[in-house]
């Protein structure tokens, strides 16, 4: 019975990585009217959103990327060593198989030749796996304005609007990623970065029983997509508790394409005047007129 050793081998291959485990970002989303004190080591993100979970993706820093590259390199060395061991076992197993077949044994498991790991074919957890932040729609900080206000403490950094993703406790996900174009912004330490308001134009239009449109854009080839962001201005509602705390408006920049990590529906953020435009599927930084590379 060669199947059992093979499965055990596969389990070993799956479990013997020396790579560091993923470390989810430490975040705290504030409950309704919770007391908020600004920790100078943390960044705070405020957003207004109509009832759907919002997924942000923090851009890994150079030092985090270096750590990740080191972990990946170590895992690759480990995989190469495993391949050498498996190759030796394979030769023996193949001989056993050939002898068994020549002796008329049926249903004898034929060993599979190990695949040599290369830089090109070696898969490793994505660096993004450590950097997703979910702003839960259900955890509302303030209801005083036209939209619910959400506030979350996060590690300082650059954050991208990834999409509207609902992650169930059983590990399943649904929603829509802005994989084909979005914006990002910096969230510095010691202050609240105000993202403004997230709109879901198509869903909101359906709810309001009106034709979806915004800023002259319409759905489909008209350029209006399933999500858009409205940066804050002087008329944007701010909860009284936060009015006296350090606060800056998010400065948005165009962000390139990114993978569909959750395997959900794909879309792109609606063009944002002065920030984000599209030329077909090319993402253009409106400030410079240049194309933005994929991530």
């Amino acid at each position: 019975m060669r199947a059992i050793p093979f499965i055990l081998s596969a389990i070993a291959l799956a479990g013997l990585s020396t790579a560091a485990a993923a470390k989810p970002l430490e975040t705290v989303q504030f409950k309704s009217n919770a007391a908020v004190g600004i920790d100078p080591a943390k960044a705070y993100i405020m957003v207004r959103s109509p009832g759907m979970d919002l997924e942000l993706l923090r851009v890994a820093t150079a030092s985090e990327r270096a750590d990740y590259d080191r972990d990946k390199a170590e895992a690759f060395v480990s995989a190469k060593a495993k391949f050498e061991r498996d190759t030796a076992k394979y030769a023996d197993a193949l001989k056993d198989y050939e002898i068994a077949v020549s002796n008329g044994v049926v249903n004898y498991y034929k060993p599979e030749k190990p695949i040599e790991p290369t830089e090109a074919n070696f898969a490793f957890r994505a660096i993004e796996s450590d950097n997703f932040v979910t702003i839960w729609a259900g955890r509302v900080f303030d209801k005083g304005g036209p939209r619910t206000v959400h506030l979350i403490a996060v590690p300082p950094g650059t954050y991208r609007i990834y999409g509207q993703i609902l992650q169930a406790p059983n590990g399943s996900s649904s929603g829509t990623c802005m994989c084909m174009g979005s914006v990002q912004f910096d969230a510095p330490a010691g202050t609240i970065t105000d993202m403004g308001t997230i709109h879901y134009p198509l869903a909101e239009a359906r709810a309001d029983k009106v034709e979806a449109s915004w800023n002259g854009l319409t759905p489909g080839k008209g350029g209006l997509t399933s999500m858009r962001v409205e940066p804050p201005d002087s008329s944007t509602y701010v909860p009284a508790q936060l009015a006296s705390l350090p606060r800056v408006a998010a400065t948005y920049r165009a962000a390139g394409k990114v993978d569909n990590f959750f395997g959900v529906m794909i879309d792109r953020l609606t063009a944002l005047p002065g920030v984000l435009v599209y030329r077909r599927d090319e993402i253009i930084d409106a400030r410079t007129g240049t194309a933005v590379a994929s991530n």
Partner: protein
């Protein structure tokens, strides 16, 4: 052949539920693939349109963009195929999408979503998601969508729900879809984005 079934088998067995820090080895599947267009058969796209055909255009369609060469169309289709099924593409990795790497859904090669979702919604929803994602992606790339009869469509397309199409088979289909995409505008009406 650009792919190996053995790679998929190894990938499947290296991502068992509950394993931490899993890693796997698969053939690189998203590097540019040089294909001689002359070696790719051009799908038969002519058909006599019936009302039944029109009623099924949400399933049976292909993309066309004028002024596009084969290599560009093929890369565009591969990009959209990868996005539609949640494969790593832009980062250049060979991986299964992150949240599923430790699940059986991840094990089957980057299928959309998780096994739990599949059990709830079923394969039909998965197929619909794929179709919609392809329409979105190719639409943003400026391709028009045109309807096709089911039999013509089946000759160079595949459905992907809870099963995963083997990669060598997939690439052959994608190559033919690229050939169709550069075949010029058909006489039939362009469909909704």
């Amino acid at each position: 052949m650009h792919w190996t079934h053995a790679a998929a088998a190894v990938a499947a067995l290296t991502f068992l539920p509950g394993t931490a820090n899993a890693q796997k080895v698969v053939d690189r599947n998203l590097a540019p693939i040089a294909v001689d267009p002359a070696s790719v058969p051009t799908p038969e796209l002519r058909f006599t349109e019936t009302d039944a055909d029109k009623a099924a255009y949400d399933k049976y369609f292909y993309f066309v963009r004028e002024g596009t060469d084969f290599a560009t169309a093929y890369q565009d289709i591969r990009e959209c195929d990868a996005l539609a099924r949640g494969m790593r593409y832009y980062a250049g990795g060979a991986g299964i999408p992150y949240p599923y790497t430790y699940t059986m859904a991840g094990a089957v090669g980057g299928a959309i979503g998780s096994a739990v979702v599949d059990a709830i919604f079923g394969s039909a929803v998965r197929r619909q998601m794929r179709r919609t994602n392809l329409r979105t992606c190719m639409g943003y790339k400026g391709y028009g969508r045109y309807g096709l009869s089911k039999d013509r469509w089946e000759a160079f397309n595949f459905e992907e729900g809870n099963r995963t199409v083997p990669e060598d088979e997939r690439q052959k289909y994608l190559e033919m879809q690229a050939k169709a995409a550069i075949s010029g505008l058909p006489a039939t009406q362009e469909l909704e984005f």
